[in-house]
Each structure stands twice: as C-alpha cells, then as structure tokens.
C-alpha cells in the first residue's frame, strides 16, 4: 500500500483528503505544518508528499529545502499545493514535482498523484 503524507494547516482539508485518498486505497498520514511533517517522516518515509505552500511554523518553501537536504527524503515526489498561481510559486521555490492550484477537484488530485507516483 502506497503511503501519502498530506501536509496542510487547514485541518479540514487534510482530513477530507485523508478520507478521500483512503477510499482510493492509499495509506494516509496527515500533518499540520512542515515541522510536524518532518517529524512524522522520520518514522516512516512516505511514497508521496502533498505539501501546502503557506503554513505557520514551517512553510512549504522551508519544508522543501529541508527535504532536499536530507538524502532519505530528497527523492520523494512532492505535490505542492497553493491558491497562488504557479508562476508566483515557481519564482519563490524549487524542488517540487507537480504544482496543484487550490481549490482543486478530487479528479485533478488523483490525476497528479498517479503521475507523481509513476
């Protein structure tokens, strides 16, 4: 079973994604910010990370940098999520595999997950 780590400070979004992706047969772990995500990954590195860009404590940019610095996590594909346009995000950070603009439809989520996990 593939494991997906969903990192979003908006808890309801994380929970709904957890439920929807569980329905699709994924194992899902959720975290509220980058710091919490890194802590959870130390126990069990996921196959894919869905990472929100704007979060308190440790945002998406800092989390991406931390992931790339660690050889254990540098190769994990990351779907970066934001309500900002991709062009804006691309100017601010690198290291993600796919960008997903919020708000999104579940069909789009499943589509990018499938592509990212190839």
């Amino acid at each position: 079973m593939r494991t997906i780590l969903v990192v979003d400070d908006e808890w309801a979004i994380a929970e709904v994604l957890e439920a929807l992706l569980s329905d699709e047969g994924y194992r899902v772990i959720i975290a509220n910010n980058g710091r919490q995500a890194l802590d959870r990954m130390s126990e069990w590195p996921p196959d894919l990370i869905m990472l929100d860009f704007m979060m308190p404590i440790m945002d998406g940019k800092a989390t991406l940098a931390a992931l790339q610095e660690n050889p254990r996590t540098a190769e994990i594909p990351v779907i970066l999520m934001s309500s900002l346009p991709e062009e804006t995000i691309a100017q601010r950070c690198t290291g993600y595999s796919v960008f997903l603009r919020k708000p999104f439809r579940i069909a789009a989520v499943l589509d990018v997950i499938e592509k990212a996990l190839v």
Binding site: A12, V16, A19, L20, P103, R105
Partner: protein, 504 residues
C-alpha cells in the same frame, strides 16, 4: 483548475429563481436554504434535483428526518417537475437518519463523501440540517462539519444545498451562515387573511443577485418564483426618449387639453372617483390606435362587460377587440401576485409588439401585493420599460376623495408619489350643484408642453366622453358652488401634496 471553472454556474432550472441568482448558483458551492416548516423547502430541494437530472446531471437527496421517502414522494409526485423515469439514475434518495443517530456528524460526513463518489452525483440536497445541528455536541463541532462539507463540495465538484428549519439568525452571523457560499430564505407569511410566500437571498458569494423580497408560489408544476419587478427592471432594457410624435386619446378635446395629445412612449395618469369615466377614456385611447396592438389590463371588470360597454358606446375599440388587435387581460386582484401580473403583462407586450397599454385601476396593484409602499416603485419601473419598448401607456387610479366637496375642487388629492412616472396627469372629478352632478376634467401636468390649467365640463353620452371646447361652463359651476357654499375655492392651494412642479 482554471478560474473559468470556478465561476461556472449551475442553473436551478426555475426561471424566476435563476433571474434572481443571475444564472444560478456556483458549481461546487455550498448553500443553506432556511425556512420554517411548510415554507416549501422540500419541494424546492426536490425540484432542484429533478431539474438538474433533466439536464443530464445526477442528484442525491439525503434526508436527516424521520419522514419516510415514500411519504415525501407521495406529495412530491403530484407536482409537474416530478419525473419517475429519472429515479434512480438521475435522482436518488438516501435516508441518513440512522447514520446520524449512530455515528454522529463524522459518520454522516463520511457517508456523504462515499455516496457522492459512488453515485457520481454533482448535486447534493441535505434535508433536515437542523437534525445535524442538534446532534453536534458543540457549535464548534457543527461548524467543523459544515467546513468539511464545504471542502467535499469543492473537491468533488458537487453543489450542495442544505435545507434547514432552524430559526433565522437575524444578523446571519451564525458560524454556518458565514461559512457557506449562499443563504436563501423561504418565508410564508400572513397579510390579513391571505398567505404569501416570499424568497430572500441574503448572501451569494462570487455573484451578484437581485436583492430584496421576491414572491413565489407553489403551483401544480412546482415552485414558481417571481423576481421583484422593480429590482428586475431597475434600468430599462434600452435607452428611453419620449419625443413624440403626438398620438390621439380618441377624443378631440382630450387631445387638446393635453397640448395636442400624449407623446408616443409617454405615460398618462388618469385620476378620478368612481363614475367619472376613466374606463371609458381608456377605451377611447385604445381605439385611437387604429391597428396598433393594444392591451386593456383590468382588475375589476370582466372582459365581457368591457366589450359590452365598448359596443354599446359604439367605440372604435369594439372592432379592435373583435379582430384581436386589442386584447383584454383580466386579472382579478383577489389572489394575484403583483410581480407575476407585471411579468406576464410585459411578456405579452414584448411578444405581441403591443403599442398601447391601458391599466384600469392601478389601486388594484396594491391588492396583489398588500404592500402599498411598493406601488410607486413598481409602476415607475414598469412604465419605464414600456417606454423602452415603445409603448404609450394610460393608467387610471380611483381616488376616494369624495369628489363632491363644495368649494374645494381639488381637496384631498393624494398622488402616492406617482407624479414622477407620468408625463401627463389628468384629474376627472364630480361637483354637485343643487340636484345636478357635473363632471369636470383638468390636466394637472403635461410635461414639455403648453397647456391650459383650467377645468372643463364633460359628459358621458351614448358616444362616450364628450368634453366641452372651453372652460366657460366649468367656471359657472365652480363659481356657483362658491356662491352657494360661501367657501372661497382654493383651486390649487390644496394641491400641496400633488405633483411636483415640473409641469410646463
């Protein structure tokens, strides 16, 4: 996802409702429909589902109430929008009462998520949100549930309608009210002995909408919504310019007192007590249009009585009625709805290329709304649209000013703020002198035209209205009234409440 998709709208399929919502609700949005029991929420919810399914969509109707679906469908099945062939592929039903009882809000949210995906529905109606609210241990828990539904709606591209009979928070500041994309309230209220149903959109995120209180009715076909006509027509459909040419009222002297006749696209307001001949004047007016299509809107007199009067007086309009050029629209004011009456009239004017309209007794508009404060606004909007459509309009209003007031020819004249909407205002009144009652007519306002501000005497004869060619006899009547009563007439001093001074 593109921004275009975010603003895509989902029509409700209810014509008047979609006009109010400027095309419908946002796809993937979440809406609360509030209303006391019996207000029409369940009918509306079902109608939305069947309308959606008839367009190829898939809807799920979830009940959180103890009422059985069989019982509900027994009522809904009688209505025109119901189409059994759409069940279950287009419209399916699910009772989540037990799920809510046993698994709480979390279980309900999970069940809705699974059902939306499994059934591939893009419209979800949840009937009985109040049960979910009562199940919540705290307001915070309920707020979290609504938030979760909101995200589900967005993720699944499934528009959600939550129906609740919860008491309306006057400020709409409840958490769930602030969170959802729209708040729509259905009301059923009594005006006197009459029940009226009203629809109010309190909030509609990301979209403009017609504000205010709109009427709706539950008909054999389901809910029919009538947008508030003055909001709908706040601006005429095209620029208006009342610049002639002059038309005929069908009575030579009537044209003369109006400075040559009413201008095309103008509105003339005819005021007078019962028996002064306003309806007869209207018949003259329509008959003068020759082969122009015209409408006589009557609230009181039935078509047969109107046709008989025209025939007995030998008026030209009698032939036009026979030929279908002039049409009588009879809307008894007992149970009508003002906005529906206006909308239907406008439809007839537009589709029939109507050039002249006579509305006999605009007082009766009030009867169809129970709210007199709307009269001036509604008539202003309606007559502006008529102008835009090239229609010349005559309105009559019955004034209860007890026409026989010795020495005070214009006493007690109410105008109800109607002056601005009419280019011309004409008063028809009675004056008693001894055993005789005289009819007097005077133009009070003729916009952009010279006119004589004097009474003339007139009669209703076997040929209709006959107005004297000068004011000599009217002068005699009024002077004699002064002599007999000793009251000095204040012919226009009593017009303090009358039309503002933009007369020529």
């Amino acid at each position: 996802m593109s921004d275009d998709r975010r603003i895509a709208k989902l029509p409700t399929g209810i014509a008047g409702f979609d006009i109010i919502l400027e095309g419908g609700v946002l796809r993937g949005g979440i809406y609360i429909i509030l209303g006391s029991p019996g207000a029409g929420k369940t009918i509306l919810g079902n109608q939305l589902c069947f309308n959606h399914a008839s367009r190829g969509g898939r809807a799920l109707y979830v009940t959180l109430l103890a009422e059985t679906h069989g019982r509900m469908l027994g009522h809904i099945g009688q209505l025109g929008f119901f189409d059994e062939s759409l069940i279950p592929d287009g419209v399916s039903y699910l009772s989540a009462f037990r799920i809510l009882e046993t698994e709480g809000l979390k279980g309900l949210a999970d069940a809705l998520r699974r059902e939306i995906r499994a059934r591939k529905v893009d419209l979800l109606v949840v009937d009985g949100l109040i049960s979910a609210e009562e199940t919540a241990g705290t307001p915070r828990e309920f707020k979290k549930f609504i938030h979760e539904l909101q995200i589900q709606a967005e993720l699944a591209d499934c528009t959600m309608m939550l129906l609740t009979s919860a008491a309306v928070d006057q400020n709409f500041a409840s958490a769930e009210h602030t969170m959802v994309d729209g708040l729509i309230e259905l009301q059923a209220r009594l005006r006197g002995r009459r029940s009226e149903r009203e629809l109010v959109v309190h909030k509609m995120r990301g979209s403009d909408f017609l504000r205010g209180v709109h009427s709706f009715q539950v008909t054999a076909d389901g809910i029919a919504v009538q947008p508030r006509i003055e909001a709908l027509l706040s601006e005429p459909s095209r620029p208006i310019l009342v610049d002639g040419p002059r038309l005929s009222m069908g009575v030579e002297m009537f044209d003369e007192i109006l400075g040559g006749g009413p201008l095309r696209r103008s509105t003339t307001l005819l005021m007078g007590a019962a028996g002064t001949g306003k309806s007869t004047a209207g018949l003259h007016f329509l008959g003068a249009g020759n082969d122009e299509r015209s409408i006589y809107l009557s609230f009181d007199e039935a078509p047969a009585a109107i046709r008989l009067k025209a025939s007995v007086l030998g008026l030209p309009v009698s032939r036009l009625f026979d030929e279908g050029v002039a049409e009588i629209v009879w809307r008894p004011s007992t149970e009508g709805v003002l906005d529906e009456v206006c909308a239907a009239l406008l439809d007839q004017v537009r589709s029939g290329n109507v050039q002249r309209v006579f509305i006999d007794g605009i007082n009766d508009f009030v009867q169809t709304t129970g709210d007199q404060s709307r009269l001036a606004q509604v008539l202003t909007a309606l007559t502006n649209e008529f102008r835009a459509l090239g229609v010349t309009t005559l309105l009559s209003i019955e004034l209860d000013f007890n026409g026989i007031v010795p020495g005070q020819p214009l006493a007690g004249l109410p105008v109800l703020g109607l002056s601005p909407m009419a280019e011309n205002i004409v008063l028809m009144r009675l004056a008693a002198l001894g055993a005789d009652v005289h009819r007097l007519i005077i133009p009070l306002k003729v916009r952009d035209s010279a006119f004589e501000l004097k009474f003339r005497r007139y009669d209703i004869t076997g040929r209709g209205l006959e107005i004297e060619s000068d004011s000599v006899q009217a002068d005699v009547v009024l002077s004699e009234l002064v002599r007999q009563t000793g009251v000095i007439p204040a012919p226009f001093g009593s017009l303090a409440a009358a039309p503002s001074g933009d007369e020529a």
